[in-house]
Symmetry: C2
Subunit: 458 residues, 2 copies
Amino acid sequence: MEYLEEHERREQWKKIENALQEDRIDEFRAEFLEMHPYDQAKIFEEQTEETRQQIYTYLSPEEIADVMEHIEFEDIELYFSEMDPRFAAQVLADISTDDAVDILNELDINKVASFLTIMDKESAAEIKELLHYEEKTAGSIMTTEYVVIRAEETVRQAMLHLRTEAPDAETIYYIYVVDEEKRLVGVISLRDLIIAEDDWLISEVMSDRVLSVSVGDDQEEVARMMRDYDFLAMPVVDFKQHMLGIITVDDVMDVMEEEASDDYSKLAGVSDVDNRDDTAFASAKKRLPWLVILLFLGLMTASLISRFEDTLNEVAILAIFIPLIAGMAGNTGTQALAVAVRSIATGEHGKGGLAKLVAREAGTGLINGVICGIIITGIVYFWQGDIFLGILVGISILSTLIVATLAGATVPLVMHKFNIDPAVASGPFITTINDIISILIYFGVATAFLNLHLLITS
Amino acid sequence: MEYLEEHERREQWKKIENALQEDRIDEFRAEFLEMHPYDQAKIFEEQTEETRQQIYTYLSPEEIADVMEHIEFEDIELYFSEMDPRFAAQVLADISTDDAVDILNELDINKVASFLTIMDKESAAEIKELLHYEEKTAGSIMTTEYVVIRAEETVRQAMLHLRTEAPDAETIYYIYVVDEEKRLVGVISLRDLIIAEDDWLISEVMSDRVLSVSVGDDQEEVARMMRDYDFLAMPVVDFKQHMLGIITVDDVMDVMEEEASDDYSKLAGVSDVDNRDDTAFASAKKRLPWLVILLFLGLMTASLISRFEDTLNEVAILAIFIPLIAGMAGNTGTQALAVAVRSIATGEHGKGGLAKLVAREAGTGLINGVICGIIITGIVYFWQGDIFLGILVGISILSTLIVATLAGATVPLVMHKFNIDPAVASGPFITTINDIISILIYFGVATAFLNLHLLITS
């Protein structure tokens, strides 16, 4: 079976729909449960509430739990509110704890409390513990369904242990070794375990250099580690090395996707770039806030230029280079911003510190400014026959490139340093700031030239 | 042990360096080999050639292979050319085939041929086969080191089989079941295998609904499937369902990172956003090409405005809204571009087709255009006291937003459809195109207004 294409999903659905309409529960279950939960979720999401209600009665809470783990977060609240609360609580208890916590974070606080009251005590306790962790930390993406063994066990005992735990654990491919106080002391991969002789001790075959993350660590940092080290799972510990949970690679892939999408949206000035089946209204709503902010920032630029109306009246030709200069400022700023945001994301900005980065960006701006400045001076001179106009535009490009590069690079870094959400330093914002800076430079230099009677044009 | 921080790496290195200087090979090996290959690579990369030569003699080809798998691609050619060719060939043979192919793709073609000649025949044959696959396809990221079993085997036989193959296989957590012609017929996870009773047949416990990708499939498509389905590995087959290799989740994470970084660089107009320890020169070089292109595109804008010099001389105040209108065009175009690029990346643009998307984007542009147009008309009227100037700017914003949104969304999609590299549809390019469109609209409307004697300003 290949990844279900849209039309395959439709065909499959027809079979399932017939079974539903004619109340053939066995046939429905056979067809539906044969699919991967991801495809089950895709089909489930297309149903009417009536059909969904029928599905809730045809499937066990555990089977619905598999479906729910693959539903988009925006829709999950609806489904849980239309289920019978007792059923919903059971579904939640059957979802792996990390996903259950994510779902509960989407729900109304009263609903969460009532679900946790109805739910079996053990699951509720596990979930409650995880609900405390802050969003985007290791704690928020870890699961508590993992397998631990003791160093004194033999390989045979460990394998028996594993067989019992396997059906419930999130992964059994890394088994963590803890001491009597649940402190993490080692790790052994299932691969090494099945190669080992039955009567060896775990302490002899485990690796005692076990990498772990702290429960408060940033999820991006965790994703980076797992990618660099090619791990399938990673243990999460508290400050005393007590084992609290594990993070598995599937969650890390979701984190990577989410973070990449966030950075990308920010650079583009959209609240969310992923559009699926948005209508024009939904899509306008995601983009309008930025556009309105930018409209007002643009008005600032306009009012700034209006202060130079005298200069413009004197030398109208100045106007024709406004978009060029503002455009170059915007572009170089976006480039610098993108590099800075990526270096924050990959944690590289730490090395050498802010000073080094500022020096580097100033250098980059200077080099590009000198080259672009010389090119434009020549072109404007040959085009307009006015060497002073050429020099004016050239100097403006040079200064603009240095300042705009610095602004693009340092604004997000400074914000990050002061723990301000760098969302405000998004692409269009930096572009507009740099528009303003560049126009100030351009008209400033132009006014100085005019006072020196250098510009002879028109 | 935590992720090695920079200073820990330095400390560790001091120990290792002392061991090297005093020729204490045992101590060097003990300290060096205890680290994760990722950290080994980080330390290795900081050494002088002389020290690297010493390291080549201290480690086996297999140990060097582990280090090489974690080296940045840009540096790998250097290391392989300074090794003794026979040693280098052995190192290559010991690297997992998918990474070996990636490395060979970085090397000179003559060098590749000579390495393959020296290498043991079996490894050379495996690598040669993989070298044929096109870049960015499933074939190019798959490995041939996987475990297959037959459906007629018992669980006990399969486990024995697995124990022998485990040390060399890229993963043993999914075991693929093939028929006598090597056609993929099923899959069983190691988890299910260890739960199963020893004398059951594989055919009884395997799943025969095995998902696979074709060898020519796009690597992004593969990454998406593995993320959606939470797979740790995925089999790769030819068009007759013969098993050719597997793709593991670690390679998929690299693909995700690479693709996200590519999209991001494109939007920002930088050849590569990842900067590590770039100097100002290196960083200027990555950004200059785009800036120079944009300089020339900006000159087109300038020459376009210069055609309206008469209009400008008559109504100099028109100049003050140029950056506002061009800026709005650029911003809305970037938003639409970002959404379009993401929908290409996630394969969602297929649903409903191009026509639907164009209609959606036109609608989005219209809604945002009407809202922003009304706001700006009001503001300009109150500010400048000229209703016709207000209407002029309002109409320009409205038309600009519709056209620029459409341009941002359709240019990359059309390019993608015609298989043109959408790199040319990067952020700054779309922005500049939209600058030009918006200025044409603005001055076009302004000239019409002037001809109708509507503008009374200045």
